[in-house]
């Protein structure tokens, strides 16, 4: 398959289909509507099922039901809808089921607006719902990268038996870019779902029990520690990041997703002017590349974080930098996207 020019939301959907996803349950919300629309047309063509749920609350519980069959299942939404899904996401994480959730972030809080934002970083990376759990969170900054990450996300979800969230934003969802849908190595080999999924009681000789309820505190502690061991394994194996023009850098910008695209262009402009600046781009937001940022914090003079929020990833960067160098912040919010000129000016002040 060659390159095709496609809209971001449709890329997210097609990449999932290429990865073997055949079941989608969702509910309309801007700016991600092209995902369910595309799925409603494409999934029947490939023998799958698209179902529009009565709410995001129901959609994520349909995902819960479908994921436990071992099938590749996906939902998508944006901030307010993702908030409604948090109960179900917590149950899915607790019951250790694999699925893909795409959040095409819009500005909040509350109903906020429909324009791009990165204000769901805390919600995505720090649990989001109740209880002690994590999602594996991947943040693409181009549509090609989105296609590649979504392709591997199902393997990762099945290997860790944990939901994966792809954290995009309205900018990535609505933009068009040329993309090649290709096979990408995930680096993990998921177990055969027939070992654990519902619907195989006869051939396995053992029923499946899908639950997150452990009334005995000793049992629940064991369960929590088992989940923690999985998150530790992710911290060990799944950290993804990009370093751009950092070798001789005195200043380091840190940005992810759409802001990283803008920061990259700003770095190029600044380099032309002779400023020794580079970009560190976290791709996995959980697990977060704390160690890698710490190493740079010891080498560079200053760090500048750029986000479409009032400073959410900033807290992780501050933690990673551990006061080895000053960390400054530039953010636009409310659906406003920082311009290259603004980031250049911010970096020049560092």
């Amino acid at each position: 398959m060659g390159k095709v020019l496609m809209k971001g939301n449709e890329v997210f959907a097609e990449a999932a289909i290429q990865a073997g996803c055949r079941y989608f349950f969702g509910y309309p919300i801007t700016p991600q509507n092209e995902i369910p629309e595309y799925m409603s047309r494409r999934l029947p063509e490939v023998g799958g099922v698209y179902l529009q749920a009565e709410s995001e609350v129901a959609a994520i519980n349909m995902i819960f039901g479908a994921a436990a069959t071992g099938a590749r299942v996906m939902t998508s939404s944006s901030g307010p809808g993702i908030s409604l899904m948090q109960e179900g996401i917590s149950y899915i994480a607790g019951a250790e089921l694999p699925c893909l959730i795409v959040n095409v972030m819009r500005a909040g809080p509350g109903l906020g607006g429909i324009l791009p934002s990165q204000s769901d970083y805390f919600q995505a990376t720090k649990g989001g719902g109740h209880g002690d759990y994590r999602l594996l969170v991947l943040a693409p900054s181009t549509l090609q990268e989105a296609a590649d990450l979504i392709y591997v996300s199902f393997d990762l979800a099945e290997f860790y038996r944990n939901p994966v969230m792809v954290l995009a934003d309205g900018f990535l969802g609505q933009m068009m870019e040329s993309v090649e849908f290709r096979k990408v190595e995930s680096g993990v080999t998921p177990p055969d779902p027939r070992e654990w999924a519902v619907g195989y009681a006869k051939e396995r000789g053992k029923r499946a029990l899908i639950k997150s309820l452990y009334l005995n505190p000793e049992e629940l502690e064991r369960h929590n520690l088992k989940l923690k061991a999985k998150y530790d394994a992710m911290r060990e194996r799944e950290i993804r990041f990009e370093e751009y023009m950092l070798e001789d850098a005195e200043l380091m910008l840190v940005a992810y997703g759409t802001c990283a695209r803008i920061a990259k262009t700003a770095v190029k402009e600044l380099r032309d002017k002779g400023v020794r600046v580079g970009l560190f781009r976290p791709i996995s937001l959980f697990p977060f590349p704390y160690e890698q940022i710490y190493v740079w914090a010891e080498r560079v003079r200053r760090i500048g974080v750029v986000e479409m929020s009032t400073g959410q990833m900033l807290e992780d960067v501050l933690c990673a930098a551990a006061r080895r160098c000053p960390v400054e912040f530039y953010g636009r919010v409310g659906g406003m996207v920082p311009s290259v000129a603004e980031v250049v000016e911010f970096a020049a002040r560092l």
Binding site: Y23, A59, N61, F64, A66, V73, G199, K202, I210
Partner: protein, 248 residues
């Protein structure tokens, strides 16, 4: 004379004691569900979904693939399983706080889509697991820990008749209300539960059996008084019968 075993535990039921209070009818309904699964020969392809409530521990008693689900969400969970695996027989087992309050959106839309699942709806007019709070099904005047002077319809509205409400929809294949407070009703209840599963197995869409049940602890009555109360007070408001019955 050789002894012949005429009564035993259904194969689809684990040989364990239940955690239910004396006089609670969950045990009877669990057994009826298990008997139907046995008689239909579907144990190895049946999936149950039990959401929050006393019967969330259904998976300890019924021996088939089981989910524990969030409060009210069982019909959505069941939808997810059934849409991926139409060959499985999928049932939910929900209480009235679950189905008639927090889960109204899920039950209405599962029914309206004609989701090919079976719902066992336990209506005892109270929140049992959390200690006897008022439910949307609590009768006017009935006391609960959150209605200490009895339910006042001016404050909390009237009890919801879910079966009648869902029977207004086009898609459902079978909706019936039964009870298990006397042996003759138990036999009828089993017929209804079996019919509901058969409707699903024939692909005739959504089926639901509402079972008028007891909660002696929550009601503050003895087991015997509880059974009597269902006949005298509950059945006049929630009339037994079939509200939808598609031809098979």
């Amino acid at each position: 004379m050789k002894a012949v075993k005429v009564f035993g535990r259904p194969r689809s039921m684990f040989d364990v004691k239940t955690h239910y209070c004396p006089g609670c009818t969950h045990g009877i309904v669990h057994r009826l569900v298990a008997e139907c699964i046995d008689e239909l020969g579907i144990q190895d392809r049946t999936v149950g979904v039990a959401p929050v409530g006393c019967s969330v521990l259904l998976y300890n008693y019924v021996n088939c693939d089981m989910y524990e689900a969030a409060h009210g969400r069982a019909p959505a969970v069941a939808t997810g399983v059934k849409r991926v695996r139409p060959d499985l027989v999928v049932f939910t087992y929900q209480g009235d706080g679950d189905l008639a309050s927090i889960g109204t959106a899920e039950i209405v839309h599962a029914a309206n889509r004609g989701e090919n699942i079976t719902v066992i709806f336990i209506n005892n007019g109270i929140y049992g697991m959390t200690g006897g709070q008022m439910a949307p099904t609590t009768l006017p005047g009935q006391r609960a820990t959150t209605a200490p002077s009895g339910r006042d319809p001016k404050l909390s509205g009237y009890p919801i008749r879910m079966s009648e409400m869902l029977a207004q929809l086009e898609a459902p294949g079978y909706i019936a209300r039964v009870t298990v407070v006397q042996p003759r009703y138990v036999l009828k209840a089993k017929e209804a539960i079996k019919r509901a599963f058969q409707v699903q197995m024939a692909g005739k869409g959504f089926s639901m059996v509402e079972v008028l049940s007891t909660c002696p602890t929550g009601w503050g009555l003895s087991p015997n008084e509880s059974l009597k109360r269902v006949v005298e007070k509950v059945m006049p408001y929630y009339q037994l019968g079939e509200f939808k019955n598609v031809e098979l």
